[in-house]
Symmetry: C2
Subunit: 221 residues, 2 copies
């Protein structure tokens, strides 16, 4: 049975950076520079704080004093029970279901600085409309994912291109922190992020999960 | 009236890095290097996720496979009402009170990588014992702060040495994200962090706020 995502995904929202193959490849050169010297060997996590929670058909505010805003189409994995040191083989048993996420961010040209200011503006994490039970998704690693702006297809990819698949993410994250029922893993946004502007209608579509719609609005003075 | 901190500080836990003068000065050289090129001009925020929530007299687990663990004595500022784009002049009216925080972290030699894995282990953010109402603290910027390990004084500083004071933190953070009642600003930990080990008794003492005690325990296999 499908339920509104906001009733189920009540926990922490964990973002995973650089988790699409095309995006990671486009960044490899930069990881030869200081301070990294090499590509990340573990998932690069960030947090979408609770003030970023937002929903289907809700406005997303283009902040005052900001030059650019980018949507981030992503598959969200909703955890169904407490997960600590879970193996990859067991990991999928901890998944309650899936939700469409649009992980809005201010563009950053590096992964060095803490990303709170770029990723944690109010309402910057719409998700929904529904939590789709895991039982309804035959293969979460073969889902076409599309971003439309004003009806025009602007980004297209598939969860087949995740660098780390869902079992690996759950295993590597639960190795060092306990995941709880209602937590959401935002599995990553693909390369080719686009800018949006006040007045734009933004839709993320994931096959089998439906469409998540938001309107970009200017911040009131 | 004092209430248990866990009943009041129910929101997000925001950490502020590099907010003691001695610590920032010790790091300045590194900010001349790539990728920063200059010291941070805004507060460097990090998140203590909800799995890090912990309390007075509760154990703190020394994680398996980790070499070093460091306590982080800090003054916590508990927000009392929704704060968005608050000016420094108005900021103190949004403070419900204060709490002792011990912001445990795995030591990191850089501020570049997202700090989730170092700062968000289960139970890594004890706070308490009580929320001390703002009305009981004459000057939150003149509070001696001490860390004791097994009864021995190991760190000593004062909130007079904050780089950004409380009104400035509230103003600069609420400028880009809404703070809510029950959110906690962890105002920073001073330089000179020390290592602790399983069996250690750790106490953070802040004048007027009392003592926060935790015992370090080894993780069970």
């Amino acid at each position: 049975m499908r339920r509104p995502a906001s009733e189920v995904a009540t926990g922490s929202l964990f973002g995973i950076a650089l988790n699409y193959k095309g995006l990671l490849e486009s960044r490899l050169a930069e990881f030869d520079q200081p301070p990294y010297q090499k590509p990340p060997v573990k998932p690069v996590l960030f947090i979408k704080t609770s003030n970023t929670r937002n929903g289907h058909d809700r406005p997303v505010v283009f902040p005052q004093g900001v030059e650019r805003l980018q949507p981030g189409p992503a598959l969200g994995v909703v955890i169904g029970k407490e997960a600590s040191r879970v193996s990859e083989d067991e990991a999928m048993a901890y998944v309650a279901g899936y939700v469409i996420v649009n992980e809005f961010s201010l563009p950053e040209d590096s992964y060095y600085r803490p990303a709170v200011k770029a990723k944690c503006r109010d309402g910057f994490c719409p998700f929904g409309p529904d939590l789709v039970p895991a039982s309804e998704i035959a293969d979460p690693h073969a889902l076409p994912l599309k971003l439309f702006v004003n009806g025009e297809l602007r980004q297209e990819n598939t969860t087949a291109n995740l660098v780390r698949d869902i079992p690996r993410l759950i295993a590597e994250i639960s190795e060092f922190m306990t995941l709880h029922s209602g937590d959401v893993l935002i599995t990553g946004t693909p390369e080719g992020r686009v800018d949006v502007h006040p007045g734009d209608e933004v839709v993320v579509e994931i096959e089998g999960l439906g469409r998540l719609h938001n309107t970009i609005v200017a911040e009131e003075a």
